[in-house]
């Protein structure tokens, strides 16, 4: 415990736990696909393809179950440049957070984009998935995205 200056008595602590999350059939199927390096979306009640897939329609709440394969490449719809990555984020060098509309999808997926430099990122650019060497069935099987053709 840190020795405090007069009056103040404070100490640091960590709230730390590894949660075990059961995922249910829809998320489970998506993650199983990732393990096999395949990205799947689900068809919403209005026919739009939602990626990552939800068990329910994001607007009406209706139950969904029709899957379609999408990506692995797509288009950046918006992005933010991170010059100082924080603990736990997908990359430990400067990168962009990006919303990416994968080919065949109608909604965008949030992930990291490894572009090297801010000047190489723009809305509308084409990017593609970079897989982790070993995939386990986790959102982080997608190591990040990278500019297409890079």
């Amino acid at each position: 415990m840190a020795s405090p200056p007069e009056q103040l008595l404070s100490a640091s602590y960590a709230l730390e736990y590894t949660y075990t999350r059961s995922v249910g059939p829809v998320i489970g199927r998506f993650l199983t696909g990732l393990r096999e390096r395949r990205i799947e979306g689900i068809v919403g009640s209005d026919g739009k393809v939602i990626v990552p897939p939800t068990e329910y329609d994001p607007v009406t709440g209706e139950t969904l179950e029709d899957f379609v394969e999408v990506g692995p490449a797509g288009v950046v719809t918006t992005w933010a440049w991170v010059s100082e990555p924080r603990r736990g984020q997908p990359l430990d060098r400067p990168f962009a957070w990006a919303l990416i509309r994968l080919d065949g999808a109608d909604t965008a997926l949030l992930h990291a984009l490894d572009a090297g430099d801010e000047s190489r990122v723009s809305t509308g650019m084409r990017v593609t998935a970079r897989w982790r060497e070993e995939t386990t069935g986790h959102i982080r099987d997608l190591a990040c995205f990278e500019p297409e053709g890079a």
Partner: protein
């Protein structure tokens, strides 16, 4: 609808780190002051409701200890929302509409200094697809800011002007954390924090608390020479996934504003809970604020952002100006969740 008014408002000095003051020590004098202004004792208050977050405090049941600040003996009729105090005010307003009680004490509190707030807020995200990537709250706001900048006529200069005006306004708010004269051109020369956001586009990290007393009908008139009447209050939520939403608009604010009757009369002022500069631009449009509406005379969330109290403070700030005769009709707004996912709109009027 029953006539319900805000008759008393207090807030803690908004500071980066309240240091040795725990939540009880912050709240106790505020509650006493708010009650004194209302001339009611806690035992005369019909209902009490608070807003706070366990993850902000870094401990479960953090609101339980806060009860110690009240003197809740004999036992009180009380509830708590794990939301900004503005939603606690909503719950209390509903209770008053039911009609069994005539007054309510509402408070919101939080010490954002305890944890790494940008990371803490990442736990609000989808626990399977998004939270495991740890996108921080500033980065998510930056995604929204760029979407707005690239799809509208707004520029980074407009955002800098929002920051400069809010902090200029805050000079007359002794409880504000950040205030002063800033030149928007000089602000634009600063480096990006998370591009396209600069430091001035982001809220300060704030410890604070806010307390409001509500009263109905004749009781409100007896307590206050000029009660700030709640003429409409509503809140709405949007889908969670950022990739599903149109981040450049705030449809939930638009809908809540319609239900609360924002457009039913001219507005003198607006207190908007916009932690990021571009969010004020989005909210202005969503609320249809016209030229001449005084926006955030308190300095808003860019001058002080005590999470879990900042939304309630907006309502209190607007009410104070109505009661003080500085305005006749105002709109106050509170937000929750990433990129304005959930929004509350409250219309206040003098007599």
């Amino acid at each position: 609808m029953r006539d319900v008014a805000i008759v008393s408002f207090t807030q803690a000095p908004n500071v980066r780190d309240a240091g040795a003051m725990n939540e009880v020590e912050i709240l106790m004098p505020l509650v006493a002051e708010a009650l004194e202004k209302s001339t009611l004792t806690l035992q005369e208050i019909g209902f009490t409701c608070s807003g706070s977050s366990d993850y902000l405090a870094g401990a479960p049941f953090s609101f339980v200890m806060a009860i110690d600040a009240l003197g809740a003996w004999p036992p009180i009729s009380e509830s708590h929302v794990e939301m900004d105090g503005a939603w606690a005010l909503y719950e209390a307003w509903v209770k008053l509409q039911h009609g069994a009680v005539d007054s309510a004490l509402v408070y919101g509190f939080g010490k954002s200094s305890s944890g790494e707030i940008r990371d803490v807020l990442a736990l609000q995200l989808d626990p399977y697809y998004v939270a495991p990537l740890w996108p921080d709250s500033v980065s998510l706001a930056a995604l929204q800011a760029r979407a707005l900048l690239e799809s509208s006529a707004y520029s980074e200069k407009d955002m800098a002007e929002v920051a400069a005006r809010n902090r200029r306004n805050a000079r007359s708010n002794p409880k504000a954390q950040l205030s002063g004269d800033f030149d928007s051109a000089a602000l634009l020369a600063e480096p990006y924090l998370v591009s396209p956001l600069r430091k001035h586009d982001c809220p300060p990290i704030t410890d604070g608390a806010a307390v409001v007393v509500l009263a109905a009908d004749d009781l409100a008139r007896r307590i206050s020479k000029r009660p700030a009447w709640i003429r409409g209050i509503d809140h709405r939520i949007e889908p969670h996934s950022l990739g599903v939403r149109d981040l450049t608009r705030s449809p939930s604010t638009e809908l809540a504003a319609e239900k609360a009757g924002v457009a039913r009369g001219p507005l003198d002022l607006a207190e908007l809970h916009a932690p990021f500069t571009h969010q004020e631009l989005i909210l202005r449009d969503a609320l249809g604020l016209k030229h001449g509406v005084d926006i955030n005379p308190s300095g808003g969330a860019l001058a002080a952002n005590p999470i879990m109290a900042a939304g309630l403070a907006r309502i209190g700030e607007a009410a104070t100006r109505i009661s003080g005769g500085l305005a006749n009709r105002a709109v106050a707004h509170a937000t929750s969740g990433p990129c304005l996912q959930q929004n509350l709109v409250c219309v206040l009027e003098g007599e």
